[in-house]
Symmetry: C2
Subunit: 228 residues, 2 copies
């Protein structure tokens, strides 16, 4: 008896979700059933169910009788998303600083250490962020908010962060203007969090989030991508 605790639906959902968040499936791309069925080795019903769940998460868009597509990106949406993230992640981080215990502080330190010791750019393509760094970066920010006791607030913040992952593929690892230090920004956030300085921590988090969006908008790559 093979150990198959997870249903085929769950694995298809997890894999589809991973393919979208990692950028292997790019915004605007059509998600055809025939192709996905063969690729994942399951029937259309399983794929439909997984896609429906992703629609509700905002990662996939469905047009009735027309199919499913990876949610498209756009400049205005990025602005809205960034505003929402700044305000809500600040709120949740404030809760975390107020409610988090020593165990949480340890987790923050640990996840930050893992992030620092990850290569920023991919070995094979120095123009793209490494998958390892993206994974640890996501973990680090999620851990920052883990001190907040309210699971509803944590869930909402995580949902917004997932949506933002759609844009990460287009982020440039190097700031060509030369005046950015991502690692330093993370370190400053950790410092303020451990000092329990809520105002300083939220301010630095907002600047960190805003900076990424500003550079992305200025690069003009979003407008180029949304034409698909």
């Amino acid at each position: 008896m093979a150990i198959q605790a997870k249903t085929r639906n769950e694995v298809a959902f997890a894999r589809l979700r991973g393919d979208i968040l990692s950028g292997r499936l790019i915004p605007g791309q059509k998600l055809a059933f025939a192709e996905l069925c063969e690729s994942y080795g399951v029937s259309v019903g399983v794929i439909r169910e997984a896609l429906s769940r992703l629609v509700e998460q905002g990662l996939v868009h469905s047009a009735p009788q027309q199919g499913f597509f990876v949610t498209t990106i756009s400049g205005p949406d990025l602005v809205y998303l960034t505003q929402a993230r700044c305000e809500i992640e600040s709120l949740v981080l404030a809760h975390a600083i107020a409610e988090g215990n020593v165990e949480w502080e340890s987790l923050v330190l640990a996840s930050h250490h893992r992030l620092v010791n990850a290569p920023l750019v991919s070995p094979e393509d120095p123009e793209r962020l490494s998958e390892e760094w993206v994974e640890r970066h996501s973990d680090f920010h999620q851990t920052l908010l883990l001190g907040c006791e309210n699971p509803r607030l944590r869930g909402i913040a995580g949902q917004l962060r997932d949506s933002a992952e759609l844009y990460r593929r287009w982020s440039v690892p190097f700031d060509h203007e030369g005046d950015r230090d991502i690692a330093g920004e993370h370190a400053l956030i950790v410092e303020a969090v451990l000092k329990r300085d809520t105002a300083l921590a939220t301010q630095r988090l907002v600047e960190h989030i805003s900076k990424t969006t500003s550079l992305l908008l200025e690069s003009g790559v979003v407008e180029g991508a949304e034409k698909r």
Copy 2:
């Protein structure tokens, strides 16, 4: 050729969602396929897809190989949900007051007027809120937040309000302590909103949301319902 713009999936989803939000399907209840298929006149695949979407909305819970259930309610969850609603709806209302135009003010007045002219309790059962009032009450609160330009923030607030509908079935229309005036609370919120007094409006909104939760927790009906 019959005009059927909506797929069977969409109608099943909408109807299931309505049945849950209106309390016809109560928290903890099992959602068996055979029953739903006959009731809605569709096959299992359609039901599965609709249920999967509702799972992602937090209205339905799924246990692999075991079926789907209406999300259960609990005291702790109600506390978390209320805290999240207070903080996020305040945030969105502040945006609405800052960004909303005259057209939005008109919508607020209109939806409030419709709410005032709806019967509070059901004609056949004076112990329960009327469906008409619940519908208009939901519309009123949604309209309040409609002035916020950011669709992401509006969506999050609406999502939290939907989750709170699971608890509305257990709300008592009459405050047996006798010191509550729901209609008055709504009027005060409208007044503060039209005066563009952000601090006062958000304060009154928070008190309005908190009051409902307090009465529900004090009544002890939630602990009785979650035992199912």
